[in-house]
């Protein structure tokens, strides 16, 4: 069992906009690329060209259909990675101290050299956000690109997680959710950002912005109807309107 720090200086995390995520998986593969080459062991793939390909990913996009009581079914794309919880059960469950939460920024990491691959943390995570790398036998999880966000070898503008840098739709935001004045905190306040499964008591740092109401255009027709008032009922009348209107131009 491993202790969490009493508090963290900052709460770095992601804000993911479910209204804008088109489900393109850019974040998934950019993450795979960066984290295969960087922090710790590469993210391996088993049966890479065979019948049941199965690799390690730190970030996945799931798609869910939602059927409102009335109206059209909707498809929600839902990217999911470690939420860097304040009360992270994956840390407290770790028998070796390999899982830990950083004091300075709240990032939850695995120290691979201490990880015995027991899998308890993955079992304790209610979000399924940890994956055991089969080739290396160590637990892998989102590092929030801890090797990018402070990296002095990168231009300042690039010191953000690779998933955020690559997201074409701009649906991913990174910042300090412990600072109420940060851009991400303001975005969460403006858009009603939500915790994922708050009932689990994990106090996730990452937030999700809910999709805006959809399929509302018909409700506006009563307000908009005057816009469509015919200028004339007959084609001949239309040409009369045309002549008058051109006159005024």
């Amino acid at each position: 069992m491993t202790q969490l720090p009493n508090s963290t200086d900052r709460k770095m995390g992601l804000v993911i906009d479910l209204d804008t995520c088109v489900g393109c998986h850019a974040c998934v593969i950019s993450c795979k690329g960066w984290n295969t080459e960087n922090y710790g062991a590469p993210l391996s793939d088993q049966d890479a060209y065979g019948g049941n390909p199965s690799g390690t990913f730190l970030n996945r996009v799931h798609s869910y259909e939602v059927q409102p009581a009335d109206g059209h079914a909707q498809l929600i794309h839902f990217p999911k990675s470690c939420l860097h919880c304040e009360d992270a059960p994956c840390v407290t469950v770790c028998p070796t101290g390999a899982s830990y939460k950083r004091v300075e920024d709240g990032i939850v990491l695995v120290n691979e050299s201490d990880c015995i691959g027991c899998g308890l943390c993955a079992w304790s995570c209610p979000y399924g956000a940890r994956e055991l790398d089969v080739t290396e036998g160590v637990m892998k999880k989102c590092t929030l690109c801890v090797d990018r966000i402070y990296n002095e070898n990168l231009p300042e503008v690039d010191r953000i997680p690779s998933c955020v840098r690559t997201c074409p739709a701009g649906a991913r935001h990174f910042g300090d959710l412990g600072d109420p004045d940060s851009d991400v905190s303001k975005l969460v306040a403006e858009r009603g950002g939500m915790d994922l499964m708050p009932e689990m008591g994990t106090k996730p740092v990452n937030k999700y912005l809910p999709p805006r109401p959809k399929d509302t255009i018909e409700e506006q027709i009563d307000i908009l109807a005057p816009l469509l008032a015919p200028v004339a009922e007959e084609p001949k009348g239309f040409l009369g309107w045309l002549d008058k209107t051109l006159e005024k131009l």
């Binding site: 909707q74 407290t92 990296n151 002095e152």
Partner: protein, 950 residues
């Protein structure tokens, strides 16, 4: 729930290891252009120990501005793919077996020249050279033109020619490479038939941008995935009825007067007078002695050339002569579109959209276009010399590609969409749709098609072009098609991109003539890029009575072990995109933005570790061995040694070459300038691309803005200013109709006369596509490519196939219930042409009468270095087996092409099917299930853990 871990040991206190948070990223960053799809984003390739370590988007690049999609980031798995071909191959087994012998390049090139040189000198049309996902068409067409064959095209004919040609004929450009919404100003964005594709990153960036400021997105698509999933409003339209819906929007907007009359009178042919006198000129424009279309000037009331300085064209007045009333185009439009056949109530049921919803959408368009109009304080001068103090914008924008194109009524539907934009005055204005250089470009600035055979000499002009009338059709003296694909004939007169999907079937049938060599590049014609896939395999392997192949020689170039490889006699292995030179040229399909011209290169950021060569360099070598004109100096020496040499030193016109940047001896000229031997290095230093910004004040109203026209001339885009009017009414179409009515020397065959009259309406119409043979087949069947694979060459990619390795048939809830189906069940799906048995999955966010699947996930066993139990090869399937390239026989026994009768665009999405619950196949594999091909590259490794650095 709170977690309790029941252990006796005391908890470990918090401890943190020391972490290096500034590790070295790479030894070097090499900037080039992505080729994982057709988007052509800029990429930073991070190198470690001379190997590719990581790929990210290039922030400076005009296309992607730093972002990168899943395909782009997975490029590293494409570069190390086990399916890469390794050496030239010569077929030793029967065609289709996959049995090859590796040969040296010299033997490969001599073999090709042995077949080709004689054709060049005696019968060049016997070479059919078609390139698929080719990004070097200005070069490959140049090669084909100098070879002398009329038989060249790329894949546009089976992709989106309707959109491209519909746009060019209507307004001098279309979507995607031709132009884009004004993402920074638009307040309402309407997307038709684009779920996950064309193009990739720019659409996502744009949608993200407009959603961030709360603007509305309306998605019109039978399938609510991808972009349509985030649309604020989804219109799950019945496939093939988009034109009907658009014309109804036009009806409602016109009737309410919510159209931009000032814009229409100034910039379109709405005021141009149409000849109403019976005879060969009927329906053509009244013109003056200089051939200029005539309008009535509202100021003087006189008949006046449309472009006379100071003229105020009148869309209302008519012109009487010899007892005939000649009316302006706009009168004809009012008559046509105000008719009750276009009311929302009249179309609702066929479109599957309630009338109230159609009205609500029209009202929202009207509200945003007219109540939320924007004005930029920017002076500009139009082509008539009139100065404007402001740029007025109607911030409604549209985008569309293949979804509405790939129907046999697609050309008219695309025209309708462009006409809708124009009626609203939203084209080339702030907040609307904006062209990207070299567009806008009117039809008049494009070539006409050429097809004369002249053995030993170049073709008489460019292969592909835009016919203005019957005189431009490619027919010989007997009226027979000049091209193997029958492009530019009465069957599809305006087939601006050719008909790649007809090449193999026509060659196999010897109709209109036999060919000797089929030469293809990056085109998977024996699999997902053909209709009637099984039939195509049979055509490729068909033999004559004397045991010889009907198509005697097939040469194919590809970088990967695709399904098509097995069907060729000679394989010229291409490089991957990180191992080659390329240019993304203004002469071709460039990467420009609405406010800048841009082009780019690829360069070998790594050297191939196999005996492969860039295909374009191989073409140069073949040309040199045959001393093709255009490639050969007067003294008989070769002009260029390889493609890079061509890119730098070729001049299409004096001072204008494949690349526009860093021209001139000092590299300081853009657009026009002498050859700069150091040009490629300058591009590399600049990040692999070049951008020339359009000056402020020249960046909107481009077709009519003198500042833009002058800038474009300076850049070499035009040789003189080319202002023009948008063609709401299409005169070229009317000319074909006139021929069908019996006017002129060149007459269509009788069996096509009525169809030409009916479909070539000079104003956009909607017609039901040919339903012959569809009795009992009532369900629409579509395909789309997932975003993570759109336009990508090869799904063998180890990372991407984990995202999309399976393609069930997605069936709407209603049909699942009707057929008592549940997820994982099997269904027999049949069409008038064939049947398949495939696994199904329920999807609710889908048009009630439409099924669909991901295209090209299904692979043939033995290809792409996949193991035989790969889900792509067991459960994966193609809908292509259900689609024939020909329609069922007519009463006279003739079979018409399954194509748009105007452009020849392959009508993939007209497919109608029947579904029935089926037992699981005995082998639990999708049917039909083809024999494995022998893989020329073996299969990929079991496990991957790809880390190149230490």
């Amino acid at each position: 729930m709170s977690f309790r871990y029941n252990r006796q040991d005391p908890p470990m206190t918090h401890q943190q290891p020391i972490l290096d948070t500034s590790p070295k990223i790479s030894d070097e960053v090499r900037k080039t252009t992505c080729y994982m799809c057709a988007c052509r984003c800029g990429i930073n390739v991070h190198m470690k120990d001379g190997k590719v370590a990581y790929i990210e988007g290039n922030r400076d690049h005009p296309v992607n501005k730093g972002v990168l999609c899943a395909k782009g980031s997975a490029g590293i798995m494409q570069v190390n793919a086990p399916s890469r071909l390794r050496k030239p191959l010569k077929r030793v087994g029967p065609r289709g077996s996959g049995e090859f012998r590796e040969i040296e390049w010299d033997e490969a090139l001599s073999t090709a020249v042995g077949w080709l040189n004689e054709l060049h000198e005696t019968a060049p049309q016997k070479l059919a050279f078609f390139t698929g996902r080719d990004q070097s068409q200005s070069f490959t067409s140049f090669w084909a033109q100098n070879f002398g064959t009329p038989n060249y095209a790329a894949h546009g004919g089976f992709c989106s020619v309707n959109m491209a040609a519909g746009g060019i004929y209507t307004m001098g450009g279309a979507f995607w490479e031709f132009g884009q919404p004004d993402w920074d100003h638009t307040k309402l964005f309407m997307l038709f038939g684009v779920a996950e594709d064309h193009d990739s990153n720019p659409i996502k960036m744009g949608i993200g941008k407009i959603k961030a400021r709360g603007a509305r997105v309306i998605g019109v698509n039978p399938i609510r995935s991808g972009y349509n999933a985030v649309a604020d409003d989804w219109v799950g339209i019945t496939p093939g009825t988009d034109g009907l819906f658009i014309l109804s929007l036009i009806h409602v907007l016109m009737k309410a007067g919510k159209i931009d009359l000032d814009y229409l009178s100034r910039y379109t042919n709405a005021p141009v007078l149409v000849n109403a006198a019976e005879g060969p000129e009927k329906g053509l424009f009244l013109r003056d002695a200089d051939g200029k279309p005539l309008v009535i000037d509202r100021v003087t009331g006189e008949l006046t050339a449309f472009d006379k300085p100071g003229v105020r064209p009148d869309m209302s007045a008519t012109y009487e002569k010899d007892g005939v009333t000649h009316r302006p185009v706009f009168h004809l439009m009012a008559e046509k579109y105000l008719s009750d056949e276009h009311t929302p109530e009249a179309v609702a049921e066929r479109c599957g959209i309630p009338a109230k919803r159609i009205r609500a959408i029209a009202a929202e368009i009207a509200r945003v276009a007219f109540d939320e109009a924007i004005e930029l304080d920017q002076e500009w001068t139009d082509f008539r010399g009139e100065k404007h103090s402001k740029m007025v914008g109607r911030p409604v924008s549209f985008h569309s590609m293949r979804g509405i194109s790939a129907h046999a009524n697609g050309f008219q539907t695309c025209r309708a969409l462009h006409v809708l934009q124009i009626l609203l005055g939203t084209v080339e204005v702030p907040g609307g749709f904006r062209f990207k250089p070299p567009y806008p470009k009117p039809v008049e600035a494009h070539p006409t098609p050429h097809g004369d055979r002249r053995p030993g000499r170049p073709l008489n002009g460019p292969h592909l072009g835009f016919p203005r009338g019957p005189e431009d059709l490619l027919l010989d003296e007997e009226g027979n098609p000049q091209r193997i694909d029958k492009a530019f004939t009465w069957e599809n007169p305006m087939s601006a991109h050719g008909l790649m999907h007809m090449v193999i079937s026509n060659a196999a049938a010897g109709d209109p003539y036999k060919i000797d060599t089929l030469f293809m590049y990056m085109a998977n014609m024996s699999w997902n890029s053909s209709m009637n896939t099984k039939g195509v395999m049979e055509m490729l392997t068909a033999k004559t009575e004397d045991g010889k192949y009907v198509i005697p020689h097939i040469i194919y170039s590809d970088a990967y072990s695709s399904e098509m490889v097995a069907y060729a006699d000679l394989i010229l292995p291409d490089t991957t995109y990180l191992e080659r030179h390329d240019c993304i040229s203004l002469l071709d399909r460039p990467i420009c933005e609405a406010d800048a011209a841009a082009d780019a290169i690829r360069w070998p950021v790594i050297e191939p570790d196999r005996d492969v060569r860039g295909f374009q360099s191989v073409l140069v070598e073949l040309a040199n061995r045959m001393s093709l004109p255009g490639f050969t100096n007067e003294d008989g020496t070769a002009k260029w040694k390889d493609y890079a040499d061509y890119i730098v030193n070729h001049e299409r016109r004096p001072g204008i070459g494949p690349l526009a940047g860093f021209r001139g001896p000092d590299g300081d000229k853009e657009g026009r300038g002498e050859v700069n031997p150091d040009q490629l290095n300058r591009y590399i230093e600049n990040g692999g691309f070049y951008v020339a910004h359009i000056p402020e004040g020249a960046d909107y109203y481009k077709p009519w803005n003198t500042a833009y026209q002058d800038w474009a001339v300076g850049m070499g885009i035009y040789d003189s200013p080319q202002p023009y009017l948008f063609q709401l009414y299409s005169e070229p179409m009317r000319r074909f109709q006139l021929a069908a009515e019996g006017h002129g020397d060149r007459q269509p065959p009788e069996h096509l006369r009525q169809r030409i009259k009916d479909t070539m309406d000079p104003l956009p119409i909607w017609y039901e596509t040919d339903q012959q043979g569809n009795e009992g087949f009532t369900v629409n069947a579509l395909t789309q490519r997932p975003m993570a694979m759109y336009h990508s060459w090869g799904t063998q990619n180890a990372w991407l196939r984990q995202l999309h390795g399976r393609n069930p048939l997605y069936v709407p809830t209603k049909l699942m219930r009707e057929h008592n189906l549940k997820d994982g069940d099997w269904a027999k799906v049949s069409s008038p042409h064939g049947e398949i048995t495939v696994p199904v999955m329920e999807m609710s966010a889908l048009n009630d009468n439409t099924v669909w699947t991901w295209n090209a996930i299904g692979k043939r066993k033995g290809t792409w270095a996949l193991q035989d139990d790969a889900p792509e090869a067991t459960k994966g399937f193609l809908l292509n087996h259900l689609i024939h390239e020909l329609m069922p026989p007519k009463d006279d026994g003739m079979r018409w092409a399954n194509s748009d009768p105007i452009t020849g665009q392959a009508a993939w999405f007209d497919l109608k099917v029947k579904i029935e619950k089926a037992d699981a196949p005995a082998d639990a594999q999708s049917q039909p299930n083809f024999d494995p091909i022998k893989s020329p590259v073996g299969t990929g490794p079991e496990n991957l853990a790809w880390k190149v650095g230490k």
